[in-house]
Amino acid sequence: MSAAENGREVLVRVKGVGKVYRRGSEDIHVLRDLDLEVRAGDFLALMGPSGSGKSTLLNLLGGLDRPTEGILTVGGDSIADLTPRELAAWRARHIGFVFQLYNLLPTLTAIANVELPLLLTPLSKSERRSHSEAALKMVGLGHRLKHYPRQLSGGEQQRVGIARAIVADPTILLCDEPTGDLDRKSGDEILSLLQELNRAQGKTIIMVTHDPHASHRAGRTIYLNKGQISDTMPE
């Protein structure tokens, strides 16, 4: 354990987690007996080849799926014990998602997209607006509030996606290939933004990526191979 890790609480605890999908009569073990700890303030990159289980792990961490076995707690909450309704509310409170394809609603403006997670909170309309505006300013899009996704570049859309992910101040940001659909320059800008959120604001970030260049921007990288953690990048 490094000195930096000392004193920081363990936010994510994965112990003996496995995930099995059933296809016909065949069981497919996507994750096997996985152990992992993520501390508050970590910027963790998850790497591995396609089918290694990194997206499945991200889905489990985000409460979009449940483990077949093992214990998975985020901020002390055991994912497997929550009902679907509790899980939806839990996601709204604790998780900010950043997607590879941005997943913005095309009929809503940038600020309305960012406001979406706040609709699940007791904030008033004016509070929601001011929070959303602040989040967009933070990602450098204070001048694009009323633009629709189709009027924005890929990099700008991803910035809106990040603003949406952070606006409700979630416990963790889960980023699924956040630069996967962007050119190098835009990708670098997004990675810088994530780094800044991690360093300046202490956001805990877990990022799935194929790109070694992206993983170098994270504070820590773990590799997944055939559903298990590996010390090195698999061939």
Partner: protein, 399 residues
Amino acid sequence: MMHFLNWFRQTLVITRFSILTIPQRLGASVTAIFGIAGVVAVMIGVLSIAQGFRKTMMTAGDPDTVIVMRSGADSELTSILSKEETRIVADAPGILRVNGQPAASAELFVSVDLPKRSTGTDANVPIRGVGPAAFRIRQAVKIRVGRRFIPGRNEVIVGCASEGEFAGLGLGEQLNVNGDKWTIVGIFSSEGGLSESEIWTDTVSLQAAYQRQTSFQSVFVKLQSPESYQIFKNALTSDPRLNVKIVRETDYYAEQSRMLTNLITKLGSIVAVLMGIGAVFGALNTMYSAVSSRTREIATLRALGFGASPVIVSVLLESLVLALVGGAIGGGVAYYLFDGYRAATINWQTFSQVAFAFAVTPELLVQGAIYAIVIGFFGGLFPAIRSSRMQIAAALREL
């Protein structure tokens, strides 16, 4: 309360998003809308026939007017009364009297063949021989053109519906009544009632033309009040000289209209149900494609923490909105095409033609809207359930 507000806000956002993206699925949405519009228009169109027929028959009825016929007769056509019997009826208590004269009209009911204007084919048009009190009893009857007939001069007046429906019934034209030429001296209306489908003359002339001597088929009586009915009925049924059936005019025409309106209503309902099943599949198809075209957006909202039930409600609401638009178009088309459309059909109790106007009533429009909602509900239900059960993680990556 807070939980409900939260749920309501979620539903509003997803529904707004659904409705705003309808233009992206315009083809499928328009198909569903017009499918439902067609069903509603046909349903309302068919049922407006029954409504129009019923309205015409019911307008004819007056609660303080009573028809007396031979006991066992279903209609005037199968009834026969002697002159003596009609006199006894006219003297009964409870009848309205004006200047000492009872408001009772002994009547004869026969029919003549006349060609329909629309097809040229012959149809039975009823001729009613009436007594002097007939106009007092049916106060809705008003001469619109010409004058009343003069008894004994082989003159007739024609109901305006018959005039419109059949050829040769214009003012001044000659009507062939059992081989003789009778003159049409007036055209009358009766507030849309059944009488407008009839031709009237005096009973005595009609008896002579048809060799009916002094026989009648019915006596129409105006009572002092609707409450006088029982007194009148008791007097007639307890009189050993009579063997008669007494019915209120409203009940008589309601019974006459029942067979046809039931038939049309049943046929209309069957057609509407069969077409409705087709429309449900159309709506299902539209809503499945609507849900699948925004799978990723729905999954995104679910990932952000939106619940499953707001998604279900929003899909259902979109389906209902499409259905209501279809229902409104269908209702409008039906009203424009069918309301007031004039037609004639046979009254199976009298085997004579009844001219009437299709009636697209507010009740029918409401029925149409309700039916559209039912179609929209079932069209949206299964896609809504499917959308709520989607695997969020997989759906997030759909293009």
